[in-house]
């Protein structure tokens, strides 16, 4: 049954309220002058003439930030040996990537601010730069930070209790194995490119000594905490507000240099200060995704059973460390192994490396796609070297349902799942058995057809803690306040529905509120495919807790025993009588009793709950055709059979999978953030140079759901936001490699652009000719 999205009516009429749609009275405009160099010393900075330009009220530099004790926006979860260099909001002595903010001009209009910025004189001593992660660790490479010898941000030994002993054991198994598949694969750097760019409006109220930051975020509470720490404020002194957000994909969750600057400027000038990135600015100021090189070795016995896995991962965290930069490349990456497979021994090591590029940040999947891509390329390589059919090889190594709950070598516990069934369904739905016939038919037309399988499993949840506030604002409505932020996931259509169903009232009587730290709801952001499971669980618990309080109130109000009171469809009822009190009457009575001091709290209930990880999984199959004369790929069909646990809203689930698959296809076939290796310039700095998937690129997508409820949360839900991306990258790449005969594509790296595919086709033709 269709449940139309609550959001769509307003959005479709153009009545959404995105950051730039909500100008604040009297607001000024900020423009950021940014570094044109990848690595340079700032030898002089002269802003005097800009200060007197028409409309200009202030020009801020590092000196202003330092004077206000705002020295660094760098914050990261602690890890042993992790180097976190200072990251001044406005460049101090040195710039480490193109686009790094150097000065901010505040003027009456955006255009005045931009014009005045041209009058700023900056002199740079250009330093040698390095953008490639493999180059950055070579002897003689430019050194970015004295505290990080060889540009190593962290050398992470992996999740094993005794990494050295574990590594030796895995090495021993690899040395003695009947077969060893070995790969080196590149996850190219990606631009996140949400359609709404980033922006922020800072304001300051002198009377209360309180700041407000209106910002495109993925959850106000965690960003408020970081920003308060950056600004040296108590949490209560900073309010964060987020309204509609035009896509985020992980990129809008962290703190960025522009935010403390607009806050400080607002305080200095006594007026709100607004900044909205333009598109070319977004390319050089938003965190970027992926950018890693993975070496893998998979040992197999003579029957094709997996014995051990070794992974060495080199991740490019950029010039500065952003909020989750090293975490996503290490912990989040490693936690995805061994996916759906039984692999008795696993050794993972990750080195994170500084380069003169934009900071690495979470981008849809954040470590999971990198992990899954490596695993599924390894399995394909294993099939190639053993001669075992790739479908059979996968089937043989799946963790059976009887082995669940399953403790993995990386420390995770798969609580639920039915991998063989998911797998068989996907192959059946994709008509894998009929592929050879379709391939012959394509060959007759001069096309090379390929099919790519990708099994995936990922961990959803990230940070466990999340809150929900069920409240009675007056009238016959309940409000559900959440910290998790919808950036396109339809929260208003999902979460209020949970409350309405439990309370047995129409969903129109449940109001969804989000994006305001003044509601006092704690939690992490809408990242790691966690909102449904964590905020859903919090919503569930808050509703139950509210009803429990309601029973006490009604028992008091009607002077009956508590065990005689129960709740059903909008009413608290007294057993064996016709006495009852409506939910809303009970809430009013509770307010009165609270005012008289008879009860400790009203029915308003704000709680936080911890929800353990869940493990969405599935099998995706991509089918495509290549024209070997031109290298043009035509995607033909895409099948996804997923276990995302209990489904709360089918259309949103399908939408998340489709969107994730589109982004995965983008990485596999077209996207590449290309930096010039000589001067560190971003060559792909606009939509002209950076390819996003378009309507005409997309294959028909057939989603099949095989839901096995999670046992670790009361709703049984697992994540879905990142599943499509995590799975699809390998599915598309394996299909491309399958289409090209022989070994010509065995070392093909992403993106499989027309040029690269054409070259591989020519190699294959030459090999065939021999």
């Amino acid at each position: 049954m269709k449940q139309p999205r609550v959001e769509d009516d307003a959005l479709t009429r153009g009545a959404g309220r995105f950051l730039d749609d909500a100008p604040q009275p009297g607001e000024l405009h900020a423009y950021f002058l940014r570094s044109p160099h990848a690595h340079a010393k700032v030898s002089s900075l002269d802003v005097e003439s800009a200060r007197t330009a028409p409309g200009v009220l202030a020009v801020l530099t590092a000196a202003d930030m330092k004077a206000a004790n705002i020295t660094s926006i760098a914050r990261h979860v602690p890890m042993p040996g992790l180097v976190i260099p200072l990251r001044p909001p406005l460049a101090d002595e040195r710039v480490l990537h193109i686009g790094q903010p150097v000065a901010a001009v505040i003027a009456e209009t955006a255009r005045q601010a931009r014009d005045a910025a041209e009058m700023i004189n900056v002199e740079y001593d250009v330093l040698p730069s390095v953008v490639d992660v493999r180059q950055a660790i070579k002897p003689g490479a430019p050194q970015l930070w004295p505290e990080a010898p060889n540009n190593i941000n962290v050398d992470w030994p992996g999740p094993a209790a005794d990494p050295a002993a574990n590594a030796a054991e895995v090495e021993q198994i690899i040395a003695n194995a009947a077969h060893v598949a070995r790969i080196t694969v590149v996850n190219q750097r990606l631009i996140v490119a949400s359609m709404e760019t980033r922006g922020a409006t800072g304001s300051y109220d002198a009377a209360s000594d309180r700041y407000t930051l209106r910002v495109c975020s993925q959850g106000v509470s965690p960003l408020r905490d970081v920003m308060a720490s950056v600004m040296g404020l108590k949490k209560e002194q900073l309010r964060l507000i987020t309204e509609d957000v035009g896509g985020a994909f992980g990129m809008k969750s962290p703190a960025y240099p522009e935010y403390p600057v607009v806050l400080l400027a607002a305080k200095k000038l006594g007026r709100p200060v607004h900044w909205m990135s333009d598109r070319s600015e977004a390319f050089i100021s938003d965190n970027q995704g992926r950018d890693a090189v993975t070496e893998g070795a998979l040992a197999l016995d003579d029957k094709g059973h997996f014995l051990a896995l070794r992974v060495r991962h080199l991740a490019n965290v950029g010039g500065f460390l952003s909020v989750a930069g090293a975490n996503l490349a290490t912990v989040l990456f490693a936690k995805c192994f061994p996916q759906m497979y039984r692999i008795p021994k696993i050794d993972i090591g990750v080195r994170c490396v500084f380069t003169n590029t934009l900071p690495l940040g979470p981008y849809r999947g954040a470590g999971r796609p990198e992990s899954n891509y490596a695993m599924e390329r390894l399995v394909e390589e294993a099939a190639r070297i053993t001669g075992i059919d790739r479908a059979k090889l996968r089937r043989r190594n799946l963790i059976p349902r009887s082995a669940i709950p399953f403790r993995t070598e990386v420390g995770t516990l798969y609580d639920s799942g039915d991998f063989p069934v998911v797998y068989d369904k996907a192959l059946a739905q994709a008509d894998y058995a009929g592929f050879n016939k379709r391939r012959r038919e394509s060959t007759k037309r001069g096309r090379w057809r390929g099919i790519g399988i990708s099994c995936f499993l990922e961990h959803s949840g990230g940070s466990p803690t999340e809150g929900a506030l069920v409240a009675f604002p007056g009238g016959n409505v309940v409000s559900l306040g959440l910290n998790v932020q919808s950036t396109g996931q339809g929260h208003a259509s999902v979460f209020p529905q949970l409350v309405a169903q439990r309370l047995g009232i129409p969903s129109e009587q449940v109001i969804h509120r989000h994006g305001d730290t003044d509601m006092g709801i704690e939690g992490a952001a809408s990242v790691a495919s966690r909102s449904a499971m964590t905020a859903g669980s919090a919503t569930f618990r808050a509703t139950e807790a509210m009803l429990a309080k309601g029973v006490v109130v009604v028992a008091k109000a009607l002077d009956v025993a508590q065990d005689k009171v129960s709740y059903r469809d909008g009413y608290f009822e007294v057993a064996s009588t016709n006495h009852r009190l409506s939910l809303f009457d009970a809430a009013s009575r509770a307010k009165e009793m609270f005012a008289r001091g008879e009860i400790a709290e009203t029915l308003d209930t704000n709680i936080t709950v911890d929800t353990p990880l869940s493990f969405p999984n599935g099998c995706h199959v991509a089918e495509l055709e290549i024209d070997p004369d031109t290298g043009v790929i035509t995607t033909l069909n895409y099948t996804a059979v997923d276990d995302n646990g209990t489904v709360l809203h089918p259309a949103i689930l399908y939408g998340q999978l489709h969107g994730g698959i589109a982004q995965g296809m983008g990485q596999a076939l077209m996207e590449f953030a290309h930096y010039d290796s000589e001067n560190g310039q971003l060559v792909t700095g606009s939509f002209q140079d950076y390819a996003l998937p378009r309507a005409e690129d997309m294959p028909p997508i057939h989603v099949g759901v095989h839901a096995v409820p999670a046992t670790t949360n009361p709703l049984g839900v697992k994540g879905v936001g990142e599943a499509g991306t995590t799975a699809s990258i390998a599915a598309f790449m394996n299909a491309v490699m399958d289409a090209i005969p022989g070994d010509a594509a065995a070392t093909l790296d992403m993106p499989a652009t027309q040029e690269k595919v054409w070259a591989a086709c020519q190699k294959a033709k030459a090999a065939q000719g021999k």
Binding site: R13, D21, M195, H658
Partner: protein, 155 residues
């Protein structure tokens, strides 16, 4: 140098005092307070700013104000009314297409213009007609369904 421009937007005549080279998008958003055409790229590379100018889908971020003249400008909020939405708007809601909704302005306005020109486009013509638009949420397949549905609704 600013000049006075009289614009016909969503059936209303309004005046704007602005630089002749200023893109129509800024006049609509900043001077007339219409928040529905969005800034996406400023270079006609994504379509988030699309409006109708005399029925044609136009990228308002690269349309100089001086080129608009007396043409009828229609934005998303003027395409239909809450009581009587345009069939494309209805179809997009029914097909549950959108996610963040930021770029939808471009898809809805371009689809509406497309269907005005060709009542029953083929799948290939729809894909071709929408090929210059960007959606990062990846709602493309839903959009194609919705345009088909709208085409059927429009008879």
């Amino acid at each position: 140098m600013t000049e006075k421009f009289t614009l016909n937007v969503n059936g209303k005549t309004q005046t704007v005092d602005a630089d002749p080279d200023m893109p129509l998008l800024y006049a609509l958003r900043n001077d007339l307070g219409l928040s529905n055409p969005h800034f996406g790229c400023g270079l006609a590379q994504c379509g988030a700013c699309t409006v109708h100018v005399d029925g044609a889908a136009v990228r308002s971020c690269v349309t100089p104000l001086s080129s608009v003249g007396n043409a009828k400008v229609v934005t998303l909020s003027g395409l239909g009314t809450p009581e009587k939405p345009h069939p494309v708007q209805t179809a997009f809601i029914q097909e549950e297409v959108f996610q963040c909704g930021y770029c939808l302005n471009g898809w809805v306005m371009t689809s509406a213009a497309l269907l005005e020109q060709k009542k029953k486009p083929t799948d290939a013509e729809i894909r071709q007609g929408l090929s210059g638009l960007k959606c990062r949420c990846g709602t493309h397949m839903g959009i194609l369904r919705a345009v088909k549905r709208a085409s059927e609704m429009m008879g």
